[in-house]
């Protein structure tokens, strides 16, 4: 139990941080349609 709690203690904030980065990267994945700036 102590082991699970210890890992959750660090895994949850790290997962939150990774999620934030993934969310931020979404415009890049959809960029062909929306995020490419008009050329010139």
């Amino acid at each position: 139990m102590k082991l699970v709690l210890a890992w959750l203690f660090v895994a949850l904030p790290l997962a939150w941080g990774v999620m934030q980065s993934v969310k931020k990267s979404l415009p890049l994945f959809g960029m062909q349609a929306a995020a490419v700036a008009p050329a010139k």
């Binding site: 203690f9 939150w16 990774v18 980065s21 993934v22 931020k24 890049l28």
Partner: protein
């Protein structure tokens, strides 16, 4: 004071060593906030004007100096206090790190309130930077003692936490500043106070959880490779004098510099090369951060099987090839491939950080590996400060010389590939330490 001593942290029989990695990560994911410091640049540069920089406001470059001081102090303090860290044990060191790092955040909050740039440099740069150095090396050396069978994986976990610190620290600071901003404040001071409180909880939990193994402890079923002779042990004062130390210093320095070739200019580079929007470029930076994080764990774990020298050969050879591919992805308009290639480069940049402690253990043993690591990461400090400057200046000079923006990075990328080749040569020159540097009487030398 005995509660803080190294002896008080020696684990009792039956202690589960898998409790130590989360303790190490709990500290590293806090001090890794330094990588996310850039989110404070713009708000602090309009701390007086609030909506736009006003009279008397600091420039973004002024604010950025605090980051450079912190990174410089990271290396210096790790080098200077390395022996003390080994002597004092992880709990005392982690608490000292907490005092300096979170104390530094509090002073930074005050610096913003009273608008004193010197207080900012003293708080975030000087005091906070010492906290970074202490907090970086102590958990790493402790983990290597707990995982002699998998040192690469063990240190990879902690150093992954440091990489994760930016992923947590940057969005957390943005959220908090958004919440606390008002007509009279950018919210940075309040955000720093809340962050200091949250980091206090995490670092204290880490310091209370951490344990060191008893001297005669070994993992179940573990048989050290060196069975005939005792494992090599070299003191920090001797390690410093060996060519191996300096080859590894060059290896780390060039690996970091090359990684910064991408990281330091990721956002403008993808915008110039592929004409993506700033929002998409920010997303690209986020992806690179994840690549950096995952590479730290992945590659250092791989190094347990390939050996450290083999792993670095892979980083340098593959890295140089991939760097040479980047201009081609731009000229042929292959954005997805560009993201994959640069992401792969950054995994190896992270891997280089995470593999070096285990490399040091292989070369010098665990006796004072934390102190040796401390001295070695002065190379990181140097690379982290000089590298981005070098890259920015070369790219700017190329643009000024009239090269199209998309091609202005080609020389820099080729230069990074060249640095990796030099790193490869340094790595190939690393040989076992000469016996004259070995500790003769390990037990008697613990002075």
């Amino acid at each position: 004071m005995s509660f803080l001593s190294r002896d008080a942290t020696i684990a009792k029989p039956g202690f589960n060593r898998w409790l130590v990695p989360p303790a190490a990560i709990a500290v590293h994911m806090c001090i890794g906030q330094v990588y996310g410091f850039s989110v404070f640049k713009k708000p602090l540069a309009r701390a007086l004007g609030i909506t736009a920089p006003g009279a008397g406001d600091w420039s973004e470059a002024d604010v950025g100096v605090a980051y450079s001081i912190a990174l410089a102090l990271l290396g210096i303090s790790a080098a200077v206090f390395g022996k003390w860290v080994e002597r004092s044990g992880p709990r005392k060191t982690m608490l000292a790190s907490w005092l300096c790092f979170c104390g530094g955040l509090l002073i930074t909050a005050l610096a913003v309130k009273v608008h004193s740039i010197w207080l900012l440099y003293a708080g975030y740069g000087l005091i906070g930077g010492i906290g970074l150095g202490l907090g970086y090396i102590s958990p790493v050396s402790t983990l290597m003692k707990w995982f002699p069978d998998r040192p690469g994986m063990a240190t990879g976990m902690a150093i992954m936490g440091f990489g994760g610190g930016a992923l947590i620290g940057a969005p957390l600071a943005e959220e908090l500043m958004k919440r606390f901003s008002s007509a009279t404040s950018v919210g940075a001071s309040e955000a720093l106070l809340v962050m200091a409180a949250l980091y206090t909880v995490s670092m204290i939990v880490g310091a209370l959880t951490v344990r060191v193994p008893a001297d005669d402890w070994k993992p179940d079923g573990y048989v050290p490779k060196a069975t005939k002779a005792s494992p090599v042990q070299v003191s920090v004062d001797q390690a410093w004098k060996t060519p191996q130390f300096w080859f590894l210093w060059v290896v780390l320095c060039l690996n970091v510099t090359a990684g910064i070739g991408i990281l330091g200019q990721a956002s403008p580079m993808i915008q110039d090369m592929f004409k993506v929007t700033p929002a998409a470029a920010a997303g690209y930076v986020g992806l690179l951060s994840i690549a950096n994080l995952s590479g730290r764990f992945l590659w250092s774990s791989v190094s347990d099987f390939t050996g450290r020298k083999g792993a670095y050969c892979l980083y340098f050879i593959l890295g140089a090839i991939l760097y040479c591919l980047v201009p081609w992805t731009q000229s042929t308009g292959r954005l997805t491939l560009f993201v994959v290639v640069t992401g792969a480069i950054i995994t190896m940049y992270g891997g280089g950080f995470a593999t070096i402690p285990a490399y040091l253990k292989d070369m010098f043993g665990t006796y004072q590996v934390g102190a040796i690591h401390g001295r070695l990461i002065t190379s990181w400090s140097l690379a982290a400060i000089v590298g981005p400057q070098l890259v920015d200046r070369i790219s700017a000079a190329n643009k000024a010389a009239g090269l199209p923006p998309g091609e202005a990075y080609n020389f820099t990328l080729q230069l990074m590939a060249g640095l990796l080749i030099i790193g490869l040569i340094a790595n190939l020159l690393v040989k076992p330490v000469h016996p004259k540097h070995h500790l003769k009487l390990y037990a008697d030398s613990n002075a």
